[in-house]
Amino acid sequence: MQTPAPFEYERATSVGQALALLERYGPEARLVAGGHSLLPMMKLRLADPAYLIDINDLTDLDYIRVDGDSIAIGAMTRHAALLASPVLAEHYPIFADAERVIADPCVRNRGTIGGSLCQADPSEDLSAVASALQATLVVVGTEGSRTVPAREFHAGPYETVVGPAEILTEVRIPIRPGAGSAYEKVERRAGDWGATAGGCFVVLGSDGETVADVGIGLTAVRAPHFCAEEAEAALRGQPATPGNLAAAAAKAAEASRPQTDQRGPADYKRHLAGELTRRALRRAVARARGQAGGPGASPGEEA
């Protein structure tokens, strides 16, 4: 089996101490949380940090709670916790939909939401979820903390706006009463990265028909900031008819610039972007109306 090159290891005892270590060691230092993105890269010698700062003891960053009009998720929250969370199941089943098809249960016991977002893999599902939900990310540095909209968090493939001596500590999602949400993903096999995936939230007006608000996220298709803003704009204020949902989905497909790889050719992925957005919208609308396909339903269940 492949093995990493040598490095120094330190275990952080607090956020402040982690920041101090990052400052001290500079750009040769990396944080490791779940480690299921970083360690495989190090074993293949694609990443070669001189210092590894283990933040797994920062258990006070492991939480999911309602905080006023938001849901606050600590950056060290594991995928398994996101999948099982009753708070998220109640407000945003898009998380359970996505987590169910992220990696496998063993990986989900280790990987964290903070690690996933900061790894910034173009195929990362939680990036699309955060973007769809217009989450706000809290980044802490030695100077203090700042907030970054999820849609401004990614600077490019594997690149975020988190500075070398900063840590992502929290993901905040506004609570939207009555919202429905859903996630749809196509993978060649359980645990594979998605060929394409898409998720959304929908808030219906009091008439139960008009789309009062919508957020659409896409992954693995190089959609700018993992979202489809034109599709959202086209659907906002419109009745949630199959025709309108399909039209928005088509716009989402247009926002996609997928690359051909062994998961499929670009035209297939673009087709999927539209198809999966359409299905996610349909299920989100159904959930908003309190119909079948509610929390805990498995992806693919028809509304």
Partner: protein, 158 residues
């Protein structure tokens, strides 16, 4: 650096390089060769051990990161000469052939049953989908875990 962790209930301390993977720590430093490895990309899952009660891929955990944690491997499943019902189930239902993925499957099964004592076949298949088996086609592994769910420790020792 020195690392101390609890393995199968006993505290162990060793001098290791920071880059030493947990799977190699268990196999080469502690001689617990029951945990195996099968890939380079954290996909195959034959390296699964329990860390603080949940199954993790030990090839993707540094020994250093496991410091202070509780690790359970297949060698700790049999207690005082009595097999864990999971082990008994694997034997009775022919849930193993070459045996290479078996420790990982059994550790995963034990963790599953501890959290969910009466899982459906679908829940079992989800729980074990992180470990690949080339021999059994999974059917008998599912049956083995169902056998363990239906036979408590008291029954096995009776």
């Amino acid at each position: 650096m020195q690392v101390t962790m609890t393995v199968n209930g006993a505290e162990v301390t060793r001098e290791v390089e920071p880059r030493l993977l947990l799977v190699h720590f268990l196999r080469d430093h502690l001689g617990l060769t029951g945990t195996h490895w099968g890939c380079d990309t954290s996909n195959c899952g034959v390296c699964v051990v329990a860390m603080d009660g949940v199954p993790v891929k030990s090839c993707t955990v540094l020994a250093a990161m496991a410091g202070g944690r509780e690790i359970d491997t297949v060698e700790g499943m049999e207690r005082d000469g009595v097999l864990d019902p999971v082990q008994e189930g694997f034997m009775r239902e022919h849930g193993l052939q070459c045996g290479f993925c078996t420790p990982a499957m059994m550790i995963t099964a034990r963790a599953l049953l501890d959290a969910n004592p009466d899982p459906t076949a679908a829940e079992i298949r989800t729980a074990i989908c992180g470990t690949v088996c080339r021999c059994t086609g999974y059917e008998n592994i599912v049956r083995a875990i169902r056998w363990a769910a239906e036979h408590s420790v008291a029954e096995v020792t009776a």
